[in-house]
């Protein structure tokens, strides 16, 4: 056997992502033979959720990630609502049926606190103690609320009650989800991904007039005058000449892999700055409905913002017109800047249409009911699995089936009692922390054994990619007309075949195209919301969900959604009014996870294999592909359970 020269290349930290990611690559010469993806930071939020009030869960879960803020909050409220509703539909025993004298059941005083004393205000502030009447919201109130029932204690009551989350709450959630997607994708391209394709220093050689001509030829976006680009160039020049390059320092400018002409670089840098300004504006939809961004507020049973045209608080006509204006700004930037830039830049990087996708398998859970009904048939993004790039067959996905979703820990810092080569359905999951990596400070991981804080989720034993490419392919394979139009026309502009989608470039393009698809959804949901309000339907909350007396004594639920980075779901079980168990399987775990027991690589690892590096000391090619997945590692790291047992029950709608 010929001796191979393998070198190990390490890139840590991978920057311009969310969270802590390390890539190690075995090189043959300057080509990557094997790549290893490692999540290097863990927090334990799932453990922290145990014993808490289910109504509080969304706030904890949301802090899994502040870039994809919102997604875990949504999945969490859906999981709790699912557990409650499933209990009703199955005729489960409800907490409130357990005799009189126990007001509503639910979390005992101090639930969620394992320590005996509550944490009061800091010394020197406030009275120091909470009052003894630790009451939650009561079901009393003005008499004009006949239409809402109080606690339900019998199956007969349940059957007669309105069990739905109000359609306006679903529409508002959709608007917030869409806002998150669109904000996230644009910021990802300009502020996280673009510097892999755009050479900032080269912008100094551009001719501002030619830049204006270029910009005006690809889009009607107004900020495209000669003066504008001249000013922009002067700003960059001052910055570069100061010698203090800040975030642009120590980078890879001048690398042979940068293909854009100077004018395109200057235009892109101008748009980078415009996008920074734009992104501050569009998050205001979260602020209006959820109070703040990052980390807007959610609510089990609906949304917290009431609709109230005649009040200065709540969603009134001023707020609605603010939302409408923001939708206009969103659409303008997506249509006039983001998408044209993607096409323009892609045209100079067509060689990246043949690398960067190694699995050929794609998975979606589906989401975004077009009419607020929650019915999967109305989802904007369909559910399914594609294998081996075969778009003629969409496999059905059932999250409950123990043969479908499984997690492996063969190369993860966890132990399974039954042996580390097993793949366990989360329902039978076990997790016990076992850090066997090198003690820091270390130079290399031992990639022949465990090397990551991420688990390896698999579907029917296959490694899967989730995210924009998976969604666009699922839509394309489902013959969605608008998707076909967007995909076919952009590939035609680039003169690339359909197979070009299976690549770094394709994934990046798919992210932009799905932003356009979402924009349509946003208009649709907004119009429906207005229609409902005009018809005097302003409900945003179903309080049946909120009263612990209505919860099943034992219940389990799953909340799923499509997050910007891919399919996401939370599973929880409730016992006696508190969270028993909480489990998240998140998109970046699917994508960034390590090898499984059969040594099959995860999506990142497969995508990097075969990459030729022009200069291994400047890992530009690795960054291009990894960034195309839009990594979110805080989400991805699976979280440890010191008790060593995880009872996960999965119920699927």
């Amino acid at each position: 056997m010929a001796e191979q020269r393998t070198e190990r290349l390490v890139v840590d930290p991978i920057t311009r992502i969310e969270g802590h990611l390390r890539i190690e690559a075995e090189l043959n010469g300057t080509t990557i033979e094997n790549a290893y993806s490692s999540g290097t930071s863990v927090r334990g939020i799932e453990i922290i959720l145990q014993g808490r009030d289910p109504r509080d869960a969304w706030a904890f879960a949301q802090r899994i990630c502040g870039v994809c803020t919102l997604v875990h909050g949504i999945a969490s409220v859906r999981a709790v609502e699912d557990a409650i509703r499933t209990g009703w539909q199955n005729g489960a025993e409800l907490a409130g049926s357990r005799g009189p004298g126990r007001e509503g059941g639910g979390p005992p005083q101090g639930a969620g606190q394992r320590r005996p004393e509550a944490m009061g205000p800091p010394p020197g502030r406030g009275p120091g103690n909470r009052g003894p009447n630790n009451r939650g919201p009561q079901n009393r109130g003005p008499e004009n609320r006949e239409q809402r029932a109080g606690p339900l204690s019998s199956s007969a009551d349940i059957a007669n009650a309105d069990q739905r989350i109000p359609v306006n709450a679903e529409l508002i959630r959709n608007l917030m989800i869409g806002t998150q997607f669109i904000h996230d994708h644009v910021v990802h391209f300009y502020h996280l991904h673009a510097l892999d394709w755009v050479d900032v220093v080269s912008a100094l050689e551009a001719d501002p007039q030619a830049t204006a001509t270029l910009a005006q030829s690809i889009s009607p976006y107004p900020r495209a005058s000669v003066g504008h680009f001249r000013d922009m160039q002067a700003r960059i020049r001052t910055f570069v000449e100061s010698g203090q390059l800040g975030i642009f320092g120590h980078a890879y400018w001048g690398h042979s892999g940068y293909n854009l002409p100077a004018e395109a670089n200057l235009m892109a840098v101008a748009h980078y700055l415009d996008a920074l300004q734009w992104q501050r504006e569009v998050v205001k939809i979260h602020t209006i409905f959820g109070g703040k961004n990052p980390h807007p507020n959610f609510l089990v049973g609906g949304v917290p913002s009431p609709i109230s045209l005649n009040s200065d608080s709540g969603i009134n006509s001023l707020r609605l017109s603010q939302v409408s204006n923001i939708l206009d700004q969103m659409e303008e930037f997506v249509e006039q800047v983001y998408v044209p830039d993607i096409i323009a830049i892609a045209s100079f990087y067509k060689d990246w249409a043949n690398r960067g996708e190694g699995l050929g398998n794609f998975l979606t859970f589906g989401d975004l009911s077009n009419d607020g009904s929650g019915n999967p048939a109305s989802f904007l993004f369909p559910r399914g699995a594609i294998l081996n790039r075969d778009l003629s067959t969409i496999h059905e996905v059932d999250l409950e089936d123990s043969e479908q979703v499984q997690e492996f820990v063969a190369r993860s810092w966890y132990d399974y009692g039954s042996g580390d080569s097993a793949g366990l359905h989360p329902w039978q999951g076990e997790t016990e922390l076992n850090y066997t990596g090198p003690q820091p400070p270390y130079e290399q991981l031992n990639v022949d054994s465990a090397y990551s804080w991420l688990k390896s989720p698999r579907w029917r034993g296959n490694a899967m990619e989730v995210g924009p490419l998976a969604r666009v392919l699922m839509l394309y394979a489902s013959n969605d007309a608008y998707t076909r139009e967007l995909v076919d026309s952009s590939l035609s502009q680039l003169n690339l075949p359909i197979d070009a989608l299976y690549s770094t470039l394709g994934r990046t393009l798919a992210r932009a195209l799905e932003t356009q698809i979402l924009m349509r959804g946003m208009r649709n949901w907004y119009d429906q919301l207005l229609t409902n309000i005009k018809a005097d339907n302003t409900d945003t909350f179903n309080e049946l969900y909120f009263d612990p007396a209505n919860w099943p004594v034992d219940g389990r639920g799953v909340g799923f959604m499509e997050a910007p980075r891919g399919a996401l779901a939370h599973w929880l079980s409730i016992g006696n009014g508190v969270i028993d168990n909480y489990q998240c399987v998140v998109p970046s775990t699917w994508n960034a996870g390590p090898r499984d027991a059969n040594n099959q690589p995860g999506a990142y690892e497969a995508a990097l294999a075969g990459h030729a590096l022009a200069d291994p000391s400047q890992p530009l090619e690795i960054l291009r592909t990894i960034h195309s997945f839009d990594p979110c590692l805080a989400c991805a790291v699976h979280l440890l359970d010191e008790d060593g047992s995880e009872r996960l029950q999965i119920k699927v709608r």
């Binding site: 890139v11 930290p13 920057t15 802590h20 930071s41 927090r43 334990g44 922290i48 009030d53 109504r55 904890f60 802090r63 990630c65 870039v67 803020t69 979390p107 969620g112 606190q113 394992r114 800091p122 406030g126 909470r130 009052g131 630790n134 939650g136 919201p137 079901n139 109130g141 004009n144 910055f239 203090q244 800040g246 642009f248 120590h250 890879y252 700055l273 300004q277 992104q279 501050r280 998050v283 205001k284 602020t287 209006i288 109070g291 703040k292 990052p294 049973g301 609906g302 917290p304 913002s305 009431p306 109230s308 009040s311 608080s313 810092w413 090198p438 820091p440 130079e443 805080a634 979280l639």
Partner: protein, 334 residues
Amino acid sequence: MKKNKEQPSVDEVLAQHGVSRRGFLKFCASIASLMALSPDAVPQIASALSNARRPSVLWLPFQECTGCTESFLRSHTPTVEGLIFNSISLDYQHTIMAAAGDQAEEARREAIRSQAGEYLVLVDGSIPLGNAGFSTIGGQSNVDMLRETAADAAAVIAIGTCAAFGGIPKANPNPTGAVAVSDIITDKPIINISGCPPIPVVITAVIAYYLTFGRLPDVDENSRPLAFYGNSIHDRCYRRPFFERRQFAQSFDDEGAKAGWCLFELGCKGPVTYNACATVKWNEGTSYPIEAGHPCLGCSEPDFWDAGGFYQGLFPWEFYTARPRPGGPGQGPR
């Protein structure tokens, strides 16, 4: 901060960017207002900025969710890409820096070497002490990176409740042994900008203050800037009159909620939470949680995750009603 002759001062940088002296004075007036300084301080601010150079700033991310970085990017006054972006040299920041891997670590180490004693360290996320392998960057544990980087820093700013107080990783049962920055660094000036995340402009205002005066602003007993954490949400909330009149929303979406009544009975922690949400508000003054219908979570307070359920009310009412305060604002017991 002494002026390095080779580095342009802030006002020279602004002039190079085409900002007139008039524009510079306007900027100083905005800073003064934002930091709750008297308008008489404007000439002092102008003078200080005229002589200040752009300090190197290193942002260390530990057990974080990146929400604090995202909040920083939302700041509109000063804008990230605007004046402050040009007035500091942000030499290490994982989310937006171009360099990765070895080049990123070299950027950090070079700043430490060449700007010793003068660079500013920003931290988000808590630091796990349970096992060095729980959280690493470049093969180095977070605690080692913090100690190494803070050793020659001029000051440390802990951004967000996780860095300031331990935050969510520290919440019961604290699986990784997470602690706050101030539990590890005890020999440097530290300021805590708490919140989950903090309000965008509060982050940049404190940096601007440091840039202007070369020191950190006055703080409360939790080392948070009094300008933003000196009053409770309750004391500045526009719904306070409803609290005093005992007009409470008793359920979400009921008539009281629609009318904008007080959310005390729905679990609002405003009375024991110190932050600027009710005055500065969020995202360019658009709204804040209570105004959008959700009770305050108390997210800028230490250990708020374990302080009782978010929908469990603080009772009794009498503790939080208006009454005379000894010592004035920000001082003494309430």
